[in-house]
């Protein structure tokens, strides 16, 4: 079981991630408990999912963009974005869109090939939870968030680019 880091702490993970059935068969929803369902499941079984007790999460694969859920963000306690390979960088944009364009305030979780060396930039893009790949050292991973002390650009964590922050600081 992957270790979860949430808000820079090792956290217990009570969510159940429902994998997508590649054959297209409907997933068996557990009768109770908090689940993170594939986007397709949410789109197909919205009513059923909303009628379920407890909190709900949805996960987007690397090739899925947030527009289809943009109107429903407040229904999700968790949105997870999958990284099938750490080098597939689409999820970084997806996270920024969810945070900055659509204003998602809940837990934004990176899942899949989530490794120490990418945590810093993932967090900058708006992820606040990281389901580390199983072989990753969670204690060590906590130090990744301090890799760089600042950045030039805007990001989910730094809505103003460095040059504007510098300018604001210089003005009385």
């Amino acid at each position: 079981m992957a270790t979860l880091i949430k808000e820079r702490r090792i956290a217990a993970d009570n969510w159940q991630l429902l994998e997508r059935d590649e054959a297209g068969a409907p997933l068996a929803l557990p009768a109770w408990g908090e689940v993170i369902v594939p986007l397709a499941t949410w789109l197909e079984r919205r009513g059923e999912l909303l009628a379920r007790p407890g909190r709900l999460g949805v996960w987007l694969d690397a090739n899925e963009q947030p527009e289809p859920i943009a109107g429903d963000l407040d229904r999700f306690a968790v949105i997870a974005v999958n990284f099938p390979k750490f080098g597939d960088g689409r999820g970084y944009s997806t996270a920024r869109l969810l945070r900055e364009r659509y204003g998602f305030k809940g837990e934004l979780r990176a899942i899949g090939d989530v490794l120490y060396d990418h945590l810093y930039f993932l967090e900058q893009c708006g992820f606040d939870a990281f389901a580390l790949r199983e072989d990753q050292d969670a204690q060590h991973a906590l130090s990744a968030f301090d890799t760089f002390s600042d950045g030039y650009q805007t990001s989910a964590l730094r809505p103003m680019p460095l040059f504007r922050r510098r300018l604001a600081a210089a003005k009385p």
Partner: protein, 583 residues
């Protein structure tokens, strides 16, 4: 060492702020930790590969290769001395200036690379994002800030883009590498049409600065000339617009096939209009947002650049005129390698790294030190690396040209071949690179030896000859007036010849174009003969001395050249049969 430095003068050079230095230092610490974990077996080959590449480190044919960034080709004498020191201490005492205006060293030890990066950081240098699927070194005109046809000083814009593209969190893992070029002058000396994004500075009717934005150009195995996605982008929108392009690319660019992952393929598959609409839709969300540039910020960056203390000088120098009249070798070098300067009494000098017998772009550590001394003495301690793999002293006083020429000649750096056939652009090829299908350096040398007669070279006139050892096209063969591509045929090295390529609109009206192959490929020994036949065809067909090889190809097409190389159709069939028999 004795330096006659011009007192109180600084090279044109962006001076780091505290935060610039801090980020580079933090990067060194990060890579030191990553290397340590890799050597301790805690990072897999594949995981480390992605991390080392974004620090310029390849594992090459014989050893690692480290590509050191030279942002927009601008280098100080102090930095060059540091590079000389690094090649001596960690490598074999030489380096290779690449077509991306960077420096590559071919023999470092993996364990030493963090120390090398640490040493670079002490002179405000690094190897950040010189490889991998990330933003690469932004390149520009090597005559920026001195060219007479200047529209804007492109260095400041390059630095703005450098900062924006360094460790951009969202674009950590683009589908593929991404190259941006900026041209700030009328003539395009930055080859903007063959970059993922090309920015050509323009002024609108009111005099406001903006950029013509080209997208989707590039060389490699699917060469394309970029298209104009926006005719005029006001300067303040530069970063939001770039961000919009990059976001569309990051989300939609292909990731299933490395050979189809560049933005040019995305543009081609979606079509220019649709791609423009998608970028515009994204830009509508970002435009006028916090990344919108301000006049204060642009001025701040411009002011972070140190400037030489230019002096008022006469427009001519009688001693220079006398030397030109009496010394033919000097006059010939002056005619080719000295370029006009926007300030009276100054000139820009190109030190040729294309001496016959020396791999194009290669410099020894001793030469680097000597060049640094010359730069201190004659060019305010500053130099530039051109994408044609030469070095430029941009600020030389006319009175110093003769002395500089004498000293450069003693160092083997005064070959008077700038713009001529022997100024060959060439990748390291099969001698060094593990990707190469064929060697490229021996081909360059054989051609240089064949065309060693200077009078003949000058008679042939301006001609770009580019060589790549494989279809990755690091030698930019597609945009050579003559391009040579190494290909593999059943394990043997063969060479395909293209003509008609052009790197960009250096001369008005002669736009960027990609060369066309003239026919079946040749064995290495045949290449100089083929080039000679192409040149003979050109000389026989040109209408005046002013008409260059590329102009003739444009006027008459490639057919006459084909015929001069392969003969008529019957002879061609015989040639092919001969080749088949040989294979």
């Amino acid at each position: 060492m004795h330096h006659l430095e011009r007192t109180g003068s600084l090279p044109i050079m962006y001076i780091y702020e505290e935060i610039d230095q801090k980020l580079v230092d933090e990067r060194v610490a990060q890579f030191r930790d990553q290397t340590r974990r890799f050597l301790a077996g805690k990072l897999s080959e594949e995981e480390f590969r992605a991390l080392r590449l974004r620090n310029g480190l390849y594992i090459q044919r014989y050893a690692p290769m480290l590509r050191i960034a030279i942002p927009y080709g601008l280098l100080s004498a102090k930095q060059l001395r540091k590079l000389a020191h690094i090649t001596r201490k960690y490598d074999r005492g030489y380096g290779h200036f690449s077509t991306r205006q960077n420096l590559q060293i071919n023999w470092p030890q993996l364990k030493d690379v963090p120390d090398i990066l640490g040493e670079l950081a002490t002179v405000q240098m690094h190897a950040i994002q010189t490889s991998g699927n990330s933003f690469r070194n932004v390149t520009t005109d090597h005559f920026a800030d001195v060219a007479r046809d200047e529209i804007v000083d492109s260095f400041a814009w390059c630095e703005i883009i450098r900062q924006w593209s360094t460790f951009h969190p969202e674009f950590s893992y683009l589908p593929r590498k991404f190259k941006i070029a900026v041209n700030g002058a009328e003539s395009d000396r930055a080859a903007v049409a063959v970059h993922d994004i090309g920015l050509h500075a323009v002024r609108d009717a009111s005099g406001e600065v903006g950029f013509k934005v080209l997208v989707g150009g590039g060389l490699g195995r699917t060469p394309m000339v970029g298209y104009v996605i926006r005719e005029f982008l006001p300067w303040k929108h530069l970063l939001t617009y770039l961000e919009a392009i990059l976001r569309v690319y990051n989300l939609l660019g292909r990731r299933d096939n490395i050979h189809k992952a560049r933005i040019k393929i995305l543009v081609k598959e979606r079509g220019q209009d649709r791609f423009r609409k998608e970028v515009d839709a994204e830009w509508a969300q970002l435009k006028d947002g916090p990344s919108t540039l301000t006049a204060e910020e642009v001025a701040r960056i411009e002011n972070r650049f140190a400037r030489p203390a230019y002096t008022a000088l006469p427009a001519t120098d009688p001693r220079l005129d006398a030397a030109l009249a009496s010394n033919r070798a000097f006059a010939s070098w002056h005619a080719r390698n000295v370029s006009p300067h926007k300030r009276t009494g100054y000139a820009a000098v190109t030190l040729s790294l294309k001496k016959t017998g020396v791999p194009p772009g290669d410099v020894t550590a001793d030469q680097m030190d000597a060049i640094a001394d010359l730069a201190d003495r004659y060019s305010y301690g500053e130099l530039r690396v051109s994408h044609e793999q030469n070095l430029i002293f941009a600020d030389v006083q006319l009175t110093d040209l003769y002395a500089l020429w004498q000293q450069a000649r003693a160092l083997g750096l005064a070959t008077p071949n700038l713009g001529l056939l022997t100024n060959i652009v060439c990748c390291p090829g099969g001698d060094f690179c593990s990707l190469a299908n064929a060697k490229s350096i021996p081909v360059a040398e054989a051609i240089q030896r064949r065309f060693d007669d200077l009078d003949y070279l000058h008679d042939i006139g301006e001609l770009d000859l580019n060589i790549s050892g494989c279809m990755n096209a690091c030698g930019h063969h597609h945009v050579g007036h003559i391009g040579i591509l190494g290909v593999d045929k059943n394990g043997e090295e063969w060479y395909q010849i293209e003509i008609g390529g052009n790197q960009g609109e250096i001369r008005p009206g002669v736009t960027a174009s990609l060369g066309k192959a003239i026919g079946p490929s040749f064995a290495r020994a045949e290449v100089p003969d083929v080039i000679e036949r192409l040149i003979e065809c050109y000389l026989g067909r040109r209408e005046s001395d002013a008409e260059r090889f590329i102009d003739v190809v444009r006027r008459i097409g490639i057919e006459p050249f084909k015929e001069s190389v392969y003969g008529n159709a019957d002879q061609r069939a015989a040639h092919r049969r001969g080749q088949l028999a040989a294979a």
